[in-house]
């Protein structure tokens, strides 16, 4: 346990300090890293929903898009400060998840696809509700991150620190829940939902909470992205890529662990952008599809699980790092 905390702390130090120190000059690389962390945040949220909530979703792009638009509009039309708007973006995405509550009664595949339908619906609403979102024309000149304590957070390094902090905060929350009694109950629900209800666990509420949390996290990441890219349009904000890349990342890195989706995101995204895209400028994501298929067939627990040592049952009762 202590070793794991030390590992995470070392990682945090390296991430906050060493990365900007080493790469701040290379704007392209920094952009790639920021984008991969954005995907990583969604991947973490997706894995949390799958792992703790037992729900697979094919529509996380919905939460991403809602968070993006909510934050951008609150800042631009209602004058909210950007930091609060990130939280509000998350809250709006969580509210969108409330609309999905009836879908919780459905069996696995049906829930997954019902969420996909929601994603389509939100995209179409964003395109058609021109009064609110300016429709397909999109919203431009979204305000950048402000200068705080003299530091300009709209710089690459600044944006990097913000998204890194978001992702690490998500990881902390995930770990905290997983080691709590709620986490125990969630695991028990996968074994036997009936048995958990018979001992007093409100399983529907527990799953709903995981859905809200996953949506909230994804919404915050979407909000971050809006103020980082400074431009939004429906096809971009609700693009299937925001669903697909996190799924590939989480499956590749191992969706049962907390670090898996993050490592998976960085590796998969960087590989895709730096290697595959260079080899095949169009259609390079075919490799991602193949990767996903290969993972499901040969290593459903993720590539990293092949390298992880098997730990004794007691130690892993609260999960791996």
């Amino acid at each position: 346990m202590a070793a794991r905390i030390v590992a995470w702390l070392a990682f945090a130090v390296a991430a906050y300090a060493l990365v900007p120190f080493a790469f701040a000059g290379n704007l392209y690389l920094m952009s790639m890293i920021i984008a991969s962390l954005t995907i990583g945040g969604i991947a973490l949220a997706w894995a949390l929903l799958g792992n703790l909530g037992g729900l697979v979703s094919f529509g996380h792009a919905a939460f991403f898009g809602v968070g993006s638009y909510a934050s951008a509009l609150l800042v631009m039309k209602a004058g909210w400060p950007i930091g609060i708007s990130l939280l509000a973006g998350g809250a709006c995405a969580a509210f969108a998840a409330v609309l999905m509550l009836p879908a919780l009664r459905l069996r696995g595949p049906y829930f997954a696809l019902a969420v996909l339908a929601y994603a389509h619906i939100f995209r179409i609403i964003a395109t058609e509700w021109k009064g609110l979102t300016n429709g397909a024309g999109g919203i431009g000149n979204i305000p950048r991150f402000p200068v705080v304590f003299g530091y300009d957070f709209s710089s690459k390094t600044g944006a990097y620190w913000i998204v890194l902090s978001l992702v690490l905060a998500f990881a902390l929350i995930y770990a905290w829940i997983r080691s709590s009694h709620l986490g125990l109950a969630l695991r028990a629900m996968h074994d036997s939902e009936e048995a958990t209800r018979a001992v007093g666990v409100n399983s529907t509420l527990a799953k709903a909470l995981m859905l809200f949390l996953s949506a909230f996290m994804t919404g915050m990441v979407g909000a971050f992205n809006a103020h980082y890219i400074n431009f939004l349009e429906p096809d971009y904000a609700f693009s299937g890529l925001w669903t697909m890349l996190p799924i590939v990342a989480a499956i590749f890195g191992g969706y049962r662990t907390i670090s898996g989706p993050l490592i998976g995101a960085v590796v998969v995204y960087l590989l895709d952008q730096l290697v595959f895209k260079a080899m095949m400028p169009i259609g390079h994501q075919i490799v991602l599809g193949a990767l996903l298929g290969a993972m499901i067939l040969f290593a459903p627990q993720g590539l990293l699980s092949i390298f992880a040592r098997r730990r004794p049952r007691m130690a892993s009762a609260s999960g791996d790092a």
Partner: protein, 238 residues
Amino acid sequence: MLELSDIGVRFGGLRALDGVSLSVADSEIVGLVGPNGAGKTTLFNVISGNLRPQRGSLRFAGADIGSVPAYARARLGIGRTFQIPQPMHTLTVAENLAVAQRFGASRVDAQAAAEILDLVQLTGLASRDAATSLSLAELKALEVAKALATRPRMLLLDEVLAGLEAVAKRRFTQMLADIHARYKLAIVIIEHDIETISTLCPRAAVLNFGQLIADGTPSVVFSQPDVVASYTGTVPDA
């Protein structure tokens, strides 16, 4: 403690329960018997909230619980075991109890958990994985322990002795008696073993084809001709 009034349950054309009325007092032990398919587990499902009856009412501790969901009934004090043990199998025995305590009794109490494990004779197995390494008898004991961990006022035991051989059965029966003595809770127990019922339960109720056909002391109930006929298959005289 429990008052069932005119409970009716239909599955399509089948009347699983037909006008069942039953009362269970505090600390009472009632045996529920009847041939397979009589509706015993269905009745449990109605009491624990897994099934909504189309007809009738149920009151628990004086309050109408007809619209209370299953998990809330567990918190109110209705504990149950399942015919086929449903452990939370990737959790350890101790964790099973911890979840039951935390959510069914609002407080995790290590001492109470230890006492329960002691009563069901699972103390040495507290850190074992519930799925992979427990025998049937141990799994059944875990079912009871889980239910007890929610601090129930009434315990519903669904064929908890089924599949155990004679020695284990006697041990289990004694265990149930000890539990009743210790916690003074009401117990309704579904069993096929008439000897067990007669030993353990001062009162027995008989279900047949969804109807309550007898309710009284075991010696009286089991010598009633229609009860005997329901088990032996002969048609009772009209």
